[in-house]
Amino acid sequence: MPKRTDIQKIMVIGSGPIVIGQAAEFDYAGTQACTSLREEGYEVILINSNPATIMTDSVIADRVYIEPLTLEFASRIIYKERPDAILGSLGGQTGLNLVVELANSGILDEYHVEVLGTALDAIEKAEDRDKFRELMYEINEPVPESVIVHTIEEAIAFAQSNGYPLVVRPAFTLGGTGGGFANNEDELRMICDNGLKISPVHQCLIEQSIAGYKEIEYEVMRDNSDNAIVVCNMENVDPVGIHTGDSIVVAPTQTLTDRECGIMRASALKIIRALKICGGCNIQLALDPQSFHYYVIEVNPRVSRSSALASKATGYPIAKLAAKVAVGLTLDEIINPVTKTSYACAEPTIDYVVAKLPRFPFDKFPKADRSLGTQMKATGEVMSIGRTFDEAILKAIRSLEMKIDHLEKADIEALSDEALWAKLEKQDDERLYVICALLRRNADPNRIHDITQMDLYFLQRFNNIVAFEKECKAHPKDVTHLIKAKKMGFSDAYLSRVWNMQEQELFDLRKKHNILPVYKMVDTCAGEYVSNTPYLYSTYEQENESVRSDRKKIIVLGSGPIRIGQGVEFDYATVHCVKTLHECGYEAIVINNNPETVSTDYSISDKLYFEPLTLEDVMHVIEWEQPLGVIVQFGGQTAINLADGLVKRGVQILGTSLEDIDRAEDRHAFEAMLKQLEIPQPLGETAFEIEEALQIAKRIGYPVLVRPSYVLGGRAMEIVHNDDDLCIYMATAVQEISHDAPILVDKYIVGKEVEIDAICDGENVLIPGIMEHIERAGVHSGDSISVYPAPTISKKIKETIIEYTKRIGKGFHFKGLFNIQFIVDKDEQVYVLEVNPRSSRTVPFLSKITNVPMSYVATRCVLGETLEDQGYKEIIHPETKRTFVKAPVFSFAKLRSVDTTLGPEMKSTGEALGQDVTLEKALYKALLASGVKVPDRGNVLMTIADEDKEEALDIAKRFYNCGYGIYATSGTAKYLKTHGIEVHDAIKINENADKNVLHLIRMGRVNLVINTMSQNKSVSKDGFLIRRTAAENNISCFTSLDTAKAMIRVVESLSFTTISMNELEG
């Protein structure tokens, strides 16, 4: 069927900021979708609030709106644009929810906007548990016994007739937010209570637990001629019970016979046909390991994280085709874009094994609850491809960048047998290492199976790896063993360690015996048809399919898995670098391992190597491709960290040189350089011992900022106010993080934080813009609200900043992007906090709002052009009239036990952009887009540390004058009352177990919590509980008075204040 001609203009909805459960995969899907629709000649209007994405580049759609994904703003765009149709099934749960909301509001009918892709009733049938079950009964597909409840009592009643364990799943929430397993009534009450609150329709599904079943996923597609295909099936190594986003996943299924595959396939196709979806759909099934019995667990009637994985695992571009199918094209008339010699109506067959491992944020949140369940906790993932499971899993492990090069973790190996078994019971993120540690001690795989319910197939494979380790250890440097080890996926790092040699020596040994990898192509058809996709992975076999061209080549290193501190922003920069290289006539080669991203879309680069980002794996590609050089400055710290090793092996780093990178990253060199450039920085020194640190603190005076040298994203950074806390910090952090790197002790300066991103051609500098943070220094820049143009800093300061930036750019000989964080104290003294010799988190934001294509310009500088060549003669780009605000987005509701208070350690997972003609309007949009509700009246709960009370008084007054009710705990209440503010008392936690301050939050009596933490850390248990309760109940909690001030500013702009005549001053 040909494409539709009765529609011309299509509105596409993006997925908004990155949160746990909804990450870069939707940038990939959305970008593909928009491009694909435009290819077909449609006019595309995009709305998405996430500035860090490729999809919000103005070239991706005909018009891009970076606005909050709310009914209010989406409606405005519909009024203005009058689209013929709307496509929400490529914007994740957010996209679907918004389509439903728009439909319910009547606006789609009123403006005759047709819903494409997944029809409204299909969304409802898949997402509304009742309707879903009805449909399953109708088509005779089994679902576990369950009931939909709106109250806890109904849940208890179901439990009484069906018994425990039960699963609680709140309706319409992201990534299973708020769900969990209940083994008894207490647990059921707790989880259900939370689930009902978190569900936008106050509805939960209570379901018989089928934990222990195999979890199987089917990615299916259908067109409107009812052609339906399976793109990929996947098996979770972790059984049902652990969220698939947190599971180790392999593709295709490994432990199913054709009979089982056939049953699952038939079920999946029946479901997508019953839902009449035109596009992609994810179907999750649970299969009894002891029979053919299965249940349908969940259907996602849209592209998803799994479909991104399936696309990268098979090469089959689901999102791209889903968009084409949505406008009426059928799969049997679309040419398969991978082979170009066959049709898209084909079920991909693969000739390799794919492994996906989740990337967890627990390195940043050591105190978080690490156990895994139905609530997803991973922030990102890595994928790897091998010709065997062993090879795939070992490649995946070293792709994670957790300083692990094998299925072995030193701290876990050190545990006692009892501790290991106990840890295994917990099923936490480290279970894989625990299992291998146990197998190394000859534990019975059956016993591990009994605890984990992992299929023995996988346990045997781990056992195989462990067994071969022993053989390797017994035959050091033996070539036969070396060959087998490399085929199995062992890294040089591991082998050289156990063979007691340098990694370089091992590499030389391999080269001598020609034990080098070959590259195989991902082609959707297992080699059956000719295909020229430049999408490759390494393995140790005979034939190398990677054809080396004689063009000038440059390798760009990607940024690996999404984690806190290194998000989709770096993928953005990488993609632009690649496109620029391509445009400049170079062959652009990408190495990356993140299946969610745009950079690992094989159609972006000239060649894509899906490989771990380790020195070994990167060197293999370099040795084969012989590029002019490697660009590391766009791939975040991941790529930067490889620079040293690459240079040692004689590789040319293009752009800023390694010496200059080191000069910016090495504390002493950096200090010396700044001194030479006459740029002030906060006083500070390095300490190895507690005594030393105390001495330094004494010299420079508290408060001090402490952190280990060489860390990422403010990891383990703290502001310390006294000797006691400093001792605690030195005792814990030093041990935990940096065995030999010293701790930096810096004077903590109270002041405004200002940030710039700039481009230098080695000589001259271009600053697209200066951003000011709402929160004072001390809150990590990634967690601060950032405003452009800087609203409160003077012309003089700006000039100083420009001058310093110029000196730094030239002084460090930067070639490409760099980022500087400044602090401005109350005397307008400007200090440099840090210089990052690479792309930063703010590059996409700044590129978009200033219209300076930063990665593009920087890449051309890297290639040797000057800024002047490119037409940039002024050092600072003129400021815009509009105000742009970038607000951080957190995933606290999903990470139990993580303290939500903001500090020097970064905690946010994503960001949203708000923009308008005034700062207040822009702030309003940014807050809204980041998930903060901004009601013009309501109640605010304040629990303020003593040292902040004075400052908080003004905020309280302003909320009060806007008509907000003020709740406060005793100390704060007393203070506010003595200053004439009417306050409701909130009862402290230990004074009443039921009706205390937490109850207020849980009952939804307050709309907002303002909580600041005392400098004396030992006391703040109550504060922690308040913050956690707020997070888990979806109530915004501000821990910085600066954020609170921004909020009241917005509230004031939205409402009228009423002040009695008596209060008028003067």
Binding site: S225, D226, N227, I229, V230, P252, T253, Q254, T255, L256, T257, D258, R259, C261, G262, R265, A266, P289, Q290, S291, L331, D332, T341, S342, Y343, C345, A346, E347, T349, I350, D351, Y352, V353, R387, T388, F389, D455, L456, Y457, Q460, K487, K520, C525, A526, G527, E528, Y529, V530, E541, Q542, E543, E545
Partner: protein, 361 residues
């Protein structure tokens, strides 16, 4: 760990790991793209005389079970894989793949760059190949390979020697066994057919004497030219009974109607080949396993019209006679292994018998 060689007609030699038996025979090397169903594939008699290479690398993980055989006595001449698994895990598994292959006299070789060979076969077409011990005289083997003639007596070897009934109370159906998959019998059985399975060389007279409603010509190895007697039989039956041909049976039916067969470059061997059903104008999936296909140009004047075509290369996958009650399909509708979209072929066959067959006894 024993090593073993795989030698190809073009002179290339691959060293791998031995498993299964060491009963080496020269066969036609083909690649199979199914990601599941190795037990069904090994035991599919259509592969008689062939050395099957799986493009999917991890084979044997589910072991061998008692249910999923497609014949009693597998006849493939060899099995080539990237990796075979010695510790299967599936609730039905009762032995390992290698133990089974040893028992059945099938040699296997693992640790082979199967993708390289697949690409080679894709470019050059199928090749003769043989496995050998690691110290074998390779030059001699290559010479042997070049001279070797592939067996042409497949059907004669695998067809039943004697007729046997599979009684039921439904439509009376004779199956001409050219090496049938159990799957065909299973599907007919499921639909209540009162079945008699007969040897490939049964005459039309014998069949008609059973007063059956329909005849199924099964799948099997080789080409119709190797079993001209079966072609004759079908020609004689065409006007009297409803006929369904599958696989080789499809080619036999086409031949009987006057069409010709030609060799494909490397054939279709997979679990999920996209096939357009022309009558429904819809793409469906089915397992395929054929190196020969009906020649397009030979159809004119035969009364046959194309009902199914492979989506990607337009190869004829299904035929229907315009006037006679004959349908035939090149693919495997029984979905063992592979996709089950085409099961309706059996229903159609039953319907045709219901409309035109005799009244029940």
């Amino acid at each position: 760990m024993k090593e073993r060689l795989l030698v190809l007609e073009d002179g290339s030699v691959y060293k791998g790991i031995a498993f299964g038996s060491d009963r080496y025979r020269i066969g036609e090397l083909i690649f199979q793209t199914g990601m599941s169903g190795y037990q069904e594939i090994i035991s599919d008699l259509s592969y008689y005389g062939q050395i099957v290479m799986m493009t999917y690398p991890a084979i044997g993980g589910c072991g061998i079970n008692r249910d999923d055989f497609e014949s009693m006595d597998p006849q493939i001449f060899g099995f080539v894989v990237k990796e075979f698994c010695e510790y299967p895990s599936n609730f039905r598994s009762h032995m390992t793949l290698s133990a089974f292959m040893e028992q059945k006299g099938i040699p296997g070789i693992a640790d082979i760059d199967t993708r390289e060979i697949t690409r080679k076969l894709r470019e050059n077409g199928t090749m003769k190949a043989v496995m050998a011990d690691i110290d074998a005289d390779v030059e001699h083997l290559i010479k042997q390979l070049k001279e070797a003639k592939l067996p042409e007596d497949g059907v004669q070897k695998v067809s039943t020697q004697k007729p046997y009934p599979i009684p039921s109370r439904g439509r009376k159906v004779v199956m001409i066994d050219l090496g049938t998959k159990f799957g065909l019998i299973r599907e007919l059985n499921k639909r209540g057919c009162d079945l008699v399975v007969m040897p490939y060389d049964t005459t039309a007279k014998e069949i008609l004497s059973l007063s059956c409603d329909g005849v199924v010509v099964s799948n099997g190895p080789g080409t119709p030219d190797q079993i001209t007697e079966t072609v004759e039989t079908i020609r004689a039956l065409m006007d009297h009974v409803v006929i369904l041909g599958c696989g080789l049976g499809h080619q036999v039916v086409a031949k009987a109607c006057g069409a010709d067969i030609e060799k494909m470059k490397f054939g279709h061997h997979g679990n999920s080949t996209p096939i357009r059903s022309l009558e429904k104008n819809k793409v469906e999936f089915a397992a395929t396993n054929h190196t020969y296909a009906v020649k397009e140009e030979s159809l004119s004047g035969t009364g046959l019209k194309v009902t199914h075509r492979a989506l990607n290369d337009d190869v004829i996958e299904g035929l229907r006679h315009e006037t006679k009650k004959i349908i035939s399909v090149e693919f495997n509708p029984e979905a063992a292994c592979g996709a089950d979209d085409m099961m309706y072929i059996f229903d159609e066959f039953i319907e045709m018998m219901d409309k035109g067959g005799k009244q029940h006894a």
